[in-house]
Amino acid sequence: MFSESPIMAVYNDVHRMGRLVKTVVSVSLGSRQRDHEATLTLLGETVAVRRQGTDGNLEAAVNLIQALDGQVDAIGLGGIDRYLVVRNRRYEIQDAARLAQAAVKTPVVDGSGIKDTFERALIESLHEDGVIAPGQTVLMVSSMDRFGMAETFERLGYQLVAGDLIFASHIHYPIRTADELEELARKLLPSWVRLPFHQLYPVGDAQVSDADPRFHEYFDAADIIAGDFHYIRRYMPETLAGKVVITNTTTPEDVALFAAKGVRLLVTTTPVLAGRSFGTNVIEAALVAVSGVQSGDPDWGAVVARAGLQGTRRQLNANPRGGAS
């Protein structure tokens, strides 16, 4: 049973400090082991954020969202996407819709509004700064949840390998173009979004399961590895020497693991606070809380731009080929 004390403790603490701050809770289907809290500043306002995992228990997540409804300024959905935005189509995952509908007063967001705007810009900035270079091979461990990123890589001249079928379904079939990705999404997603979410994506303890390097050749062949952290962690091989990894929701332990694997540069798509990079749902919820604007609104793009979101770049190891890193 979820006591209200952990969440309300954050809420009450910040009010006791005499400052009226916004409060955001990320309700995650992920493991409780990754729970954390912090404060961040967006558009000049302080936001207290907290992640609360439910170990893959959908009913517990519904109950928690109902308890938070009207008590906080925005709720993020973690460990699950509500919307998969692929080109001009938006597919709604039914389990996530059920979670979102558990709140009637407080806005509930899933991070897709950040992925489809800010993550495109982040790839462009890495490209323009010469951190990554056209012609390099990019393994995106999952792309249907980050189509904007995949499309941007392809448009800028990178060799795209989308691993959606490899890592979600264990089918040795790399998807090599955004057009094919869009075609597969059009055929698969209308049915898949109606499946229980745990059949589509690891939740709860499955997120911390043992490493499974059977698809190592896709990692070995890539210069850049991008996308969902849990897929990367689970399927990465013994060494990632010299690779660039672009992901988020990393903890200090995750960063140490990447460093030990030889990762050259770790790019997080969301800011790092207290050693962690937050999920896109947290950032989107915080932005909604301070701006009152949601991702479906015409002003959303301007709000994201005005927020000046910054990912982070951390050099973890020297470039094995020498030269600029």
Binding site: S169, R186, L188, S191, R194, L195
Partner: protein
């Protein structure tokens, strides 16, 4: 359309599709279909990217699919997605989750949209 005709249609679509052959090149499985009303058993066999179908049981099946024959026929002829009867409890699949997902993917890539 009989169940066997639906399976033969499914097999033909799989084998003519270059992408599906590539996906199945390392997938060797025996799948037994057991209509729980007519009890007329059928099977599918996938080997090195090529799928075949037939009447009767198969030795040591990797996967069992049970449903009324009309539902099996509808699913393998593309008139119904597997998700619909699966979520309703009308389609029971016993086997490895990866194989279940793959069969779902094959049918959606043939008849999806």
């Amino acid at each position: 359309m009989t169940l066997l005709e639906a399976l033969e249609k499914f097999v033909s679509e799989c084998n003519q599709n270059e992408r599906l052959r590539a996906m199945n090149r390392d997938w060797t499985r025996r799948i037994q279909l057991e209509p729980d009303d007519t009890h007329r058993t059928h099977h599918l066999v996938s080997e090195a990217g090529i799928v075949s179908a037939g009447s009767g049981p198969v030795d040591n099946p990797d996967m069992l699919i049970q449903a009324p024959e009309a539902i099996l026929t509808a699913v393998f002829s593309g008139q119904m997605t597997p998700t619909e009867p699966y979520n309703a409890g009308d389609l029971l699949v016993k086997g490895h989750q990866d194989d279940i997902m793959r069969l779902d993917i094959l049918s959606l890539l043939i008849w999806g949209e």
